[in-house]
Symmetry: C2
Subunit: 122 residues, 2 copies
Amino acid sequence: MDRQLNAKISVRLFTDEKCFGPGIASLLRRVKKYHSLRSAAASMGMAYSKAWTILKSCEEHLGFKLLHSTVGGKNGGGAALTENAEMMLTAYDEYCAQIKAYADNLMEEKFSFYQTLQSNEE
Amino acid sequence: MDRQLNAKISVRLFTDEKCFGPGIASLLRRVKKYHSLRSAAASMGMAYSKAWTILKSCEEHLGFKLLHSTVGGKNGGGAALTENAEMMLTAYDEYCAQIKAYADNLMEEKFSFYQTLQSNEE
């Protein structure tokens, strides 16, 4: 037997209530790609009404707007991330990546007994 | 406005499939308390059949037993954690605590713009 442990880390941010996590991060990344909340939601199999509710709840608990409408330009208008949303998304992605790297490094130290168990079973 | 960001970190461990996480950790802590899988499940509002399924799935993907039956003794018999389960639970709790401490330290650095935003709005 040669099983390897791997960790998945999920990070959710709260002020008074939940205000940012994997769901809104994914939605914002897709708005950047599709320039539309409706298309972003559809691309992840999410109802538009649910995407809207998540967006409004995050904005309320963060205290700033995440999306604004654009008019014209090379994408012909649509939804775009506010400057604050861009900063939030960048900070969140970096934060998650650093936590994951720390957790991966710590894995071997904390779960060394698990590999020992397995070599004893061979 | 004076909102403070806080992080909740959820850690799930995988071998081939998910083998350990907050649910099984909570269940095992309660088996230690109640000396019974049935009472442990009931104490967290979980059906016994679901607790059994979670336990068996974790055991399969970890590759070792988590519970054994005890006979007699001061608790009059019942379920108890195997030595491997005790090691797993201890390692998981320490692992989560260290990741959380790291994430809390990193919060101020990564999200300093958020506090700046808020003081600008005052």
